[in-house]
């Protein structure tokens, strides 16, 4: 069966085809499609197994490790910053091993396009001492996933599949087959020296790990190279950079000038084998997407040129254009100067009708420029556009940053400044709970607004622990945010629909009073279903007409600036604001933003 699959979809096919029956993770661009595809495949082929989102990457990693220890082929998927969250179990699982096989799928985001960092997860594989293999195309993503699982199972060691945005979001026609639903046997073999190892045994496990990695480094296929062309300049490469280089050589007729040596497994690298190949070359370039993991392992630099010698830029994505520039700079390609045409820039914005926008508007009405606004990771990062977000750091940091700001202002500030933290529902579950415990326990007067749209919206509407049905379609028990908050000892909790502007404003005022009076956190849950989800849009308030009364509009742009809905468009010629009917969902939330009551609704 030939399908047109993305790299992420291909990984799911490869893993399930090789017998993986347990898959967990946390959504994050560019990794989010792997798990939903695994769920689709398991349904379509009636494969037994468990495939579902977890509350965060650390938890997911531990769940998958346990499944693997019990003998079940498993995978865990996350984006690169998710692996930071999972570092603790990641390091430990490397030592203890994964008897049933465990594939760690990590999608890196050089650029970055939709991440806080452009870190290279291959370095974390190196750090934990687990093998990492790196596909260059969706077709390879399918094949390499199978090979990753086989390697993991054979050596009882987690194996990383490292993909990048361009591989994850490329598509290719791929011949796939899932095979039979082979019976799977769960079998936890008790071994406390291994699975409950004390430090003494950890030393022995480390020794075993070193032994494993030494053998893996010389394994056939994994330590082999793909070699193309026959020129005098050698380029060592891997991953997507290999695919780019291959195309550049073909398109520019460089077959006689360069030779490509493609590494399949960047760690552990068989350095001797590479040195054998590089001996006869005077000029060797290393071009790899991310950090110089291959380059650094090569040791004595000699004739090697790459990121460490400044020939390859040390930050940013190695796009095909960037690689062409490198080759021009070193004289392999003739340089061509061409002015680059860029697409017109459009600032990203919360969707028209998004409840978060109304919530941010209410927050700004109450706290103006007086508060410090700590934000978080998700759609609501775009509260930036309403000047209601001052910091965005990492998952859950809105709460801990809020705590930190409040403490230092309480102690060192001339005036006591309110601190308003905003966090999404899924991010709150992911890592907002522990810092809220700190805030309660240590008398922080933080005002925390949980913007609850009951979905992981930014990454494509995945399910959250508050949902009644999981991503897999299975019935799940909803965990209520207000119950969690109450159980932590928060005394001030209000739940409000984010379309209730007056209600939110009075809640926020009360919250401020409570927090300052008691030096305790106040939590507000502003809830409104995501209008980007089919269900949310279908059930949303919908007026017959939302329009600007042109005679009343003064063209002051207050609505455009303060409410910032993309459907409010200022026409410079007519000096009036108009509503873009193609994008407006007729929710009428913008009405409050006009100081001249020019925005009207018709029921």
């Amino acid at each position: 069966m030939k399908l047109f699959l993305s790299g992420n979809e291909a990984i799911a096919f490869g893993l399930l085809a090789s017998g993986v029956r347990f898959g967990v993770g946390y959504p994050g661009t560019p990794s989010s499609e792997v798990l939903p595809t695994a769920i689709e495949i398991s349904k379509k082929y009636a494969l037994d197994g468990y495939f579902e989102w977890s509350v965060n990457e650390k938890v997911a990693f531990e769940e998958a490790t346990a499944a693997s220890i019990a003998g079940i082929g498993s995978f865990v998927v996350m984006k690169q910053v998710g692996l930071n969250v999972a570092m603790d179990p990641f390091m430990n699982t490397a030592l203890v091993g994964s008897p049933g096989g465990l594939v760690v799928v990590v999608a890196d985001d050089p650029g970055p396009h939709s991440s806080q960092t452009e870190q290279d997860s291959r370095f974390l594989a190196f750090f934990a001492k687990i093998p990492v293999i790196e596909p260059a195309t969706p077709k390879e993503a399918y094949e390499f996933s199978k090979l990753a699982f086989n390697l993991s199972k054979k050596f009882e060691i987690p194996v990383m599949i490292r993909t990048t945005t361009r591989v994850s979001h490329s598509r290719e026609d791929i011949e796939v087959s899932i095979g039979d639903n082979k019976p799977v046997k769960v079998d936890f073999k008790r071994d406390i020296d291994r699975f409950a190892a004390t430090p003494h045994f950890r030393f022995l496990l480390h020794k075993q790990l070193n032994r494993k990695i030494k053998v893996v480094a010389t394994l056939e296929w994994y330590s082999d190279f793909d070699e193309y062309f026959d020129g005098n300049i050698l380029i060592i490469t891997s991953g997507i950079s290999f695919a780019y280089l291959y195309d550049i050589v073909e398109e520019n007729g460089l077959q006689d000038r360069v030779k490509l040596l493609r590494v399949r497994m960047p760690y552990p690298l068989n350095v001797e084998k590479i040195r054998e190949r590089t001996k006869r070359f005077d000029e060797v370039f290393v071009i790899e997407e991310g950090y110089p993991i291959i380059e650094m392992q090569l040791g004595d630099r000699g004739c090697f040129r790459g990121r460490l010698t400044g020939d390859v830029p040390q930050e940013g994505e190695l796009t095909i254009d960037e690689i062409k520039k490198i080759l021009s700079r070193v004289g392999i390609l003739s340089s061509e100067s061409e002015e680059s045409v860029k697409p017109p820039f459009k600032r990203p914005s919360l969707c028209p009708g998004c409840g978060h926008r109304s919530a941010f508007y209410a927050i700004k009405k109450v706290f103006k420029n007086e508060a410090i606004y700590t934000g978080d990771i998700g759609c609501y990062t775009l509260g930036l556009n309403l000047n209601a977000v001052d910091t965005v750091h990492c998952m859950g940091a809105s709460v801990s940053f809020g705590f930190g700001f409040d403490k230092v202002y309480s102690i060192f500030g001339d005036t006591d400044r309110p601190v308003v933290a905003t966090i999404g529902d899924s991010t709150f579950f992911h890592s907002g709970i522990p810092p809220l415990i700190d805030a309660v326990h240590n008398y922080s007067k933080l005002i925390l607004v949980i913007l609850d749209n009951s979905t992981v919206a930014m990454t494509g509407n995945q399910t959250t622990p508050a949902n009644e049905i999981g991503q897999s379609g299975r019935k799940t028990k909803p965990v209520k945010i207000e119950d969690v908050v109450r159980a932590l000892g928060v005394d001030f909790i209000k739940v409000r629909d984010a379309y209730d502007m007056d209600g939110m404003i009075s809640d926020l005022q009360e919250a401020k009073e409570f927090a300052f009076r008691n030096s305790l956190p106040a939590v507000l849950i502003f809830r409104h279903p995501c209008v980007y989800s089919g269900e949310g849009l279908k059930n949303n308030v919908r007026f017959k007409k939302v329009f600007v009364e042109t005679s009343l509009c003064t063209g002051c742009k207050v609505c455009v600036k303060q409410f910032e809905c993309p459907s409010l468009v200022y026409n410079a010629e007519k000096k009036r604001v108009f509503i873009d009917l193609a994008t407006c969902i007729k929710c009428g939330q913008c009405v409050v933003s006009c100081p001249f009551n020019a925005i009207k609704v018709e029921k």
Binding site: R171, D173, Y244, V341, K342, P343
Partner: protein, 153 residues
């Protein structure tokens, strides 16, 4: 053949690329694409580059594309920068055609079938029947067929 498809989030540009890819698979022609849709959901650009019957990556470089299909007129100049010959191969969904699809079917996404028709008319690798047999597998075939045939005419 190399082509790029440019649209904004939610318009169905990716579906259009999948239809073209399915025509390739049906004919046994290797096909690969590269999608860029970072913040597309938030009103941004969706960019799909496709290589049909060539290459290892789906990436298409500036000044090398045979066709550029544009679903939003504001990206016309950007689309032209991809073309081998800036006078040839540009397929644009004009405001007029967009409104026609919206008025006729109530959903702008039916304009994709119209663009598919224009694409089929502009090249010789795929013919009308190749396209129809793929469209058949999609929902609302009758509506898509009307839109497609308008593109062909």
């Amino acid at each position: 053949m190399r082509l790029v498809i440019l649209g904004v989030g939610g318009m169905g540009a990716i579906t259009l690329s999948k239809i073209i890819a399915q025509m390739c698979i049906d004919k046994g022609i290797p096909v690969r694409s590269s999608e860029i849709h970072g913040m597309a959901k938030k009103g941004g650009l969706v960019e799909i580059q496709m290589k049909i019957g060539e290459g290892k990556s789906g990436v298409v470089l500036k000044k090398t594309a045979d066709f550029a299909i544009v679903l939003d007129e504001s990206y016309k100049d950007y689309a032209r920068s991809y073309l081998k010959d800036s006078e040839k191969g540009l397929i644009v969904l004009t405001e007029k055609d967009k409104l026609w699809a919206v008025n006729q079917f109530g959903d702008v996404r039916f304009a994709n079938a119209f663009l598919l028709g224009r694409f089929i008319k502009s090249q010789s690798v795929f013919d009308k029947d190749d396209a129809l047999s793929v469209l058949e597998q999609f929902k609302f075939f009758d509506k898509n067929k009307i839109s497609f045939e308008r593109g062909l005419s």
